[in-house]
Structure formats: structure tokens, C-alpha cells
Symmetry: C2
Subunit: 192 residues, 2 copies
DNA sequence: GTCTATACCTCGATAGAC
DNA sequence: GTCTATCGAGGTATAGAC
């Protein structure tokens, strides 16, 4: 079997992992291709044999970051059961501090908004997946109501983490997360 | 009375307005000092007589953008009355499309998160003002509950606009805003 | 205070050896 | 495929004339 192919795919994966981590932490513009490649154990020269441009890498990295995030693992494992636990894990300081693999929806929201279509398309697909997952876990209700509820909880989760990260006061950041956990929890229980 | 002083203050204000608009639209890194100064009707050379660095300008521009936003005008005028109207004006496509002066909390959330302390401090102060305003307009309840409710609604507003801006599907963006308006409205009415 | 001009640097992207 | 080397563009910040 031809393993060079395997090798290249492997390298590609390492580049994507490095990019997802660095972009989430520092933003797209503050990470150079050289830094991404160094994170993957390579030099910058060979980047363009894997991706046509830095923006193209970004689009794939958003998707990849979503796949690597803790949220995604819960999404894959859990049967939409115990959304409360999902909420608690997401709206947590270990997430804000990037001590667990970060969710690109929260870490790159305003960064993605100013990019070209490809990047925003990737972001949109990830967002839809989250909403669909939340929706499946909601107690019975009208389709329209559950759809709105799922979207609002998604916005609350993303907004909570994104804002928490921007605050320069740790106490306030924790208080915000706690508030979103509680109110979000209520919304998931369906007290309409 | 010495009016050169006045003149300089006026120029300073124009620079801040230009910066707030451009940073909100394109992000801090994608706006050059030359562009900011051109927006204020000047050339880039005189920038450093007004601000010590680009980052220092950013910190003040965040505060200034908050002051200029439509939200701020409602905050100043309204006596925390009719939060529903505030919500509807904020979670609106004219805001997302920047057809009204944008709120930096939503437009710059992840952009601010990666900057130095001064910028994040300015962001934090603006956020606290929004939360305090929401809190005053809430129906009677325990202090702790109203505090959490106000913070969650703030996160929902900011998250709703920020994510809506990142989506590449206009229909989905509008649906998200509508969902946040409805659920946010419920939270403000205090159905605990 | 504002202008033009420029020093100095970083970065995205490409070329060519191995 | 990966490396080193480099081109060219664009940016922050400073210098000096007016």
C-alpha cells in the first residue's frame, strides 16, 4: 500500500491542529504561517503543498477545531442526553482559559465575521450542528418553539464564553459564566 | 480663552469616531493608522501627537464606540423603560449590517479578548454598564436572581449579534436574531 | 499640529536545491 | 515533500520641514 499518501495526510492533520489551536488563541491575523508550521514540526516553505492560501487553511481549521473541541466529543458520544452537563462543561473557566480544546464558535466569532465566504461557511455549518444537537435534547414542544429555544441557548453559550474571555476581571468572568449556566439550564428544561 | 486646545480636542474626537467605525467593521489588525487618519480627514504623520500607540487608540475607541452606539442613546434617554424595545433594536439586521452605529461589545468581542489589559479594561467597563442598565429595568425580584438574569440577557444579546454577523446565510442570521428577541423578551419579563 | 518622507520590520507567497 | 533563501507589499513608528 502506498504510504506516502498516508504520510501527507498525517502532516496535513498536524498543520490543522496547530492552526486551530493558534488561531483560537491569538486570532487569525496574529499568527504567521511560520508559527503554524513550527507548531506542526515543519518550516514554512512546505506550507503551500498542503494549502493554497492562509485563508483556505482558516476555513478548514475552523471545522477541525470544532471536531477537536470537548463539545464535539460530547456531541459524538452523548445521545443529546444531559444537556445540562454539556452546558456546564462549555460555560466553564477551563474552557475560557483554553485548558480544554476551545470551541471555535466562541473563540473566533468576531474574527470569522470579517473573513471571506469560505471561512464563514465553515463557521455556519458548525453552528448548525450545535443547534441541531441542542434541539434533539429538548423536552417535547412545538417544532417552532424548540427551534427558537435551541438557537437562543446556542447564542447564550457562545456569547457567555466569548464575553467572559474579553473581560479583564476574573471574578466578573466567572459570575457571567455562572449566570449563563443557570439561565441556560432553565431554558433547556423548557419552562415556557 | 485658548482655543487651539478646543481644536485639538475636536480632532481627537474625529480620530476616535473614525477608529470606532473602522475597527468594528474590519477588526483591529485589518485597519491601518493611515486609514483611520484618512477617515478623520488627516494624514498618518500627525497620529502620534494624539495617541502614544495604535493599541492605546483601540482602548479609547472601544469606549467611544459604546458612547456612539444606538444602544447608548437609548441608555441615556430611557429610564430603563421598555427593555423590550432596546432588545428589538439591538437584535436587528440593521445593527448586524452596521446600518446603525455598532455596539463594540458584539462587534469586537473575540477581537478584544486577545489584546492587552487596557483594551480589555475598557471593554469590561462598557459591559458592566449594559448589565447595570438591564438590571434596573427588570421587574422586582431577589437581587441575586436579577443580577444573573441581567448578565444572561447581555450575553444573549451580544452572542446573538456576534454570531449572526459571522453566518454566511442571511436567512439563518435573521432566524437567530428572532429567536434571541423572543427568548430574551421572556427572560426580561421575569418568568422564573 | 500637520505635513511628506523614510527607517525598520513582519509577513504571505514563490523559487529552486535536495 | 521539505528545506533555505528571497521578493514584494504593507504596516508601525519616527524625523524633520513648514
Amino acid at each position: 500500500m502506498a504510504w506516502p499518501r498516508q504520510q501527507k495526510q498525517n502532516t496535513r492533520r498536524r498543520i490543522l491542529e496547530s492552526a486551530a489551536r493558534l488561531f483560537s488563541r491569538h486570532g487569525f491575523d496574529n499568527v504567521s504561517i511560520e508559527e503554524v508550521m513550527r507548531g506542526a514540526g515543519l518550516t514554512h516553505g512546505s506550507f503551500y503543498t498542503h494549502f493554497p492560501s492562509k485563508q483556505a487553511l482558516y476555513a478548514e481549521a475552523v471545522t477541525d477545531a470544532a471536531r477537536a473541541s470537548t463539545l464535539a466529543k460530547l456531541l459524538a458520544a452523548g445521545e443529546s442526553r444531559d444537556l445540562q452537563q454539556l452546558l456546564a462543561g462549555y460555560l466553564d473557566m477551563t474552557h475560557v482559559r483554553q485548558e480544554q480544546p476551545p470551541c471555535p464558535l466562541a473563540f473566533l466569532a468576531t474574527d470569522v465575521a470579517i473573513r471571506e465566504k469560505g471561512v464563514r461557511g465553515a463557521y455556519t455549518r458548525v453552528f448548525r450542528r450545535l443547534v441541531a444537537f441542542l434541539r434533539r435534547g429538548l423536552p417535547a414542544g412545538t417544532a417552532a418553539d424548540n427551534r427558537e429555544r435551541a438557537m437562543a441557548v446556542a447564542a447564550l453559550m457562545i456569547g457567555g464564553v466569548a464575553v467572559s474571555r474579553a473581560l479583564d476581571d476574573e471574578r466578573a468572568a466567572e459570575a457571567l459564566l455562572a449566570a449563563c449556566r443557570r439561565i441556560g439550564g432553565e431554558l433547556l428544561e423548557g419552562a415556557s
